[in-house]
């Protein structure tokens, strides 16, 4: 019964983020002064925390690139939870919160967790995600039991222990900074020496083995470094969120990095950026925990880049689609004007908005807007003229400029050529080709058009017997154009 109480208590602790700590003094300073204090960096405690967050961001970003490209995210999560019992045992052993023994304990527990994973993999058919789940929760539960026990039994100085759960930047010691620095140096050294080998094992493990690279040994070293990184980052973001720092900056980098080198640089910069901005915002006011804010900032950067990245970004795609739509509308209107002029055997050059309304099947307002668009792009000039029927408002009358006329001819030519191509070369029935040509006319490039013209031997008429304005006609102004 008592055990259940302990477990329940542990879960209560773990679910309460109120424990997460903020930086700075307890004084109630206004956020502007706090921001100034942070930027000046005169306060040694601020310097320490900022430096710690920076180092953590860099290490997590670097090693995280390998975590993400090798699909080890769940592994990082398991490792960070598995170190918890080690920390508790380290504490019991040292009798106080002494960094060195806690780190040793965490290291041993992490190693034990990895061993459990390898054993499960070797001797069972359980899928990797399930074994990760088993090891993660079992070690974590054990850790919480031990920690709760320590708090209930009452050691002299147990106050700093829960910082490992949620991170506690206020208790960041010089020793923590040194271990973060050592971790970063080790990771940097490891990547510099083995960059090529890591690249080839990550991409093509079989080939890598064939040229004599020790895949398993490299993998083992990588695991150890991930463990170091997790353990040294615990003090800042805590057990629960540390794996986020391994995954989020690297996943953000993966959105647009095409080569591993860029991936590493971007990921570490993003990690560092999140670290600094998270601590900065945590410093601005009371009740703003640094660890969770750092993670939130990484997630925020992820979102920003998801929207803003070039080529495939959501905003860029949206803008492209919009400009494409407006181009298609312009082209359709121009095509309509060509057809109206054609119906009048090119004897007139004035087109009224009413004619376009009939041709396009649009409302008056829509047509007016289209004419305005054409006029502002320099494809036509427009005037108002009195309506024949006295009770209606005056109509807009437009005249195509030479530029607009050329564009209109081009679109009509694209449409009719494509129709002819489909009927002659692809054996479509003449009454099936219009729909297709309606779409293709907007995307046909100059080169393709010439190819089709050559293929069809410069045709004059489309399958419906209508005339096809040719490229040379357009350029030499040979067309029957309105005077």
């Amino acid at each position: 019964m008592k055990n259940w109480v302990i477990i329940f208590g542990g879960l209560l602790i773990s679910s309460s983020f109120l424990e997460a700590k903020q930086i700075g003094s307890g004084e109630d300073l206004n956020w502007l002064t706090q921001a100034e204090r942070f930027i000046e960096m005169k306060d040694p405690s601020i310097r320490k925390v900022a430096l710690g967050a920076l180092l953590m961001g860099l290490s997590c970003g670097l090693i995280g690139s390998y975590v993400v490209t090798r699909r080890l995210s769940l592994f990082g999560d398991t490792l960070s939870h598995a170190v918890l019992p080690g920390i508790a045992v380290g504490f019991i052993w040292a009798g106080e919160k002494e960094n060195f023994s806690l780190l040793i304990g965490a290291g041993i527990a992490g190693f034990a967790g990895v061993c459990c994973l390898s054993l499960l993999k070797k001797f069972t058919k359980i899928h990797e995600d399930s074994s990760l789940g088993i090891v993660l929760s079992a070690f974590y539960a054990l850790g919480i039991c031990l920690l709760t026990r320590i708090q209930k039994v009452g050691y002299t100085d147990q106050s700093g222990l829960d910082s490992f759960m949620f991170g506690q930047v206020t208790s960041l010691s010089s020793g923590d900074i040194i271990s973060l620095l050592i971790t970063l140096l080790l990771i940097g050294l490891f990547i510099t020496i083995n960059f090529r080998q890591l690249l080839v094992t990550g991409f093509d493990p079989q080939f890598s083995k064939s040229i004599g690279i020790p895949n398993d040994f490299l993998q083992f070293l990588l695991w150890m470094l991930i463990a170091f990184c997790v353990i040294s980052s615990l003090q800042l973001v805590g057990v629960i969120l540390v794996s986020a720092m391994l995954v989020i900056p690297a996943a953000t980098a993966s959105l647009f990095a095409k080569r591993l080198k860029n991936y590493l640089v971007l990921s570490s910069l993003l990690g560092a950026g999140a670290g600094i901005s998270g601590t900065f915002f945590s410093f601005l006011g009371k009740g703003l925990p640094a660890g969770p804010l750092i993670v939130l900032f990484s997630a925020f950067l992820f979102l920003v880049i998801l929207f803003l990245r070039p080529e495939k970004g959501i905003i860029v795609c949206w803008l492209k689609a919009r400009s494409e739509r407006s181009r298609i509308i312009i082209e359709n209107t121009l095509k309509a004007t060509f057809k109206i002029l054609e119906q009048k055997d090119f004897q007139e050059n004035e087109i009224t908005s009413l004619e376009i309304m009939k041709k396009r099947g649009l409302s008056r307002r829509e047509v007016e807007r289209e004419i305005d668009k054409l006029a502002s792009s320099g494809f036509c000039t427009k005037n108002l003229s009195a309506n024949d029927e006295a009770n209606l408002p005056p109509q807009t009358v437009m005249i195509l400029t030479p530029k607009g006329w050329e564009y209109a001819c081009k679109i009509v030519r694209n449409h009719r050529l494509w129709e002819l191509y489909l009927t002659n070369e692809a054996q479509y029935e003449p009454d099936h080709v219009h729909e297709d040509a309606e779409k293709i006319e907007h995307v046909l490039g100059e080169k393709t058009v010439r190819q089709i013209e050559r293929l069809l031997k410069n045709p004059k008429l489309d399958p419906h017997g209508k005339f096809i304005p040719s490229i040379t006609d357009i350029h030499q102004g040979n067309l029957p154009r309105p005077s």
Binding site: T69, F207, S210, I211
Partner: protein, 265 residues
Amino acid sequence: MVSGHSSYVMKHHDLPIEVHDLTVSYQKKPVLYGVDLEIEEGSFVGILGPNGAGKSTLIKTIMNMIKPNGGYVKIFGDRPRAGIKRIGYIPQKESVDWDFPVTVFDVVLMGRYGHHGWLSRIGKEDRNKASECLEQVNMLAYADRPIGNLSGGQQQRVFLARALAQESAVYLMDEPFAGVDAVTEKTIISILQEMKKAGKTLMVVHHDLASAKEYFDQLLLLNMRKVAFGSVSEVYTHELLQKTYGGKLAVLSEMATEVAKNPEP
């Protein structure tokens, strides 16, 4: 059983590949039994056999990626580790992470890694070689593309360029024709033929019986043991193919009737 040209090869230590009584098993389950093989310089060998016949295992054991339970492999008379640089390798496509952030050029450059020690730098010569090999497979225009953006056939050509960049004397290839369209298959086979002309020794795992007859000079029929090894005309017979595939596959009876119709000269 046809056992190749071993009868008149006197200097065994000169052979690019010598396999003697090789037995390999995975977790106590034997995959290959007592395979003997002697491959001469400049051979172009196709390895045929049903799924699970141990084709990939044989190749990996020759590459020293799998430790045999019995027997040995010698590469130019040496144990494989020493000779490993002299063998180029194309693994099966499935074992590769095609989403990895790496460009086509970087992949081809990997072919040069084996020529360098752990810390020595990749130099300009290596880069030139890589471009040259990409040119050879007609993929230079794609050098800066991420490898994941390429089609299956293009990826396979990049792998061939990487193998060329290895400048090895012997090449082992695991299904280079898998998932490749007819045009690419032609390109690949013509490059392989050029490599053979340049004096390279090639062993290729292949899955298509019909084309095997035309592509290769020699065939190794494998089904957990060596069924037969020799020139195409000696080995590509109804009887031996039946023995290799155990008559289980539909394609075999098709091929068998075809062979019966036009007996090989």
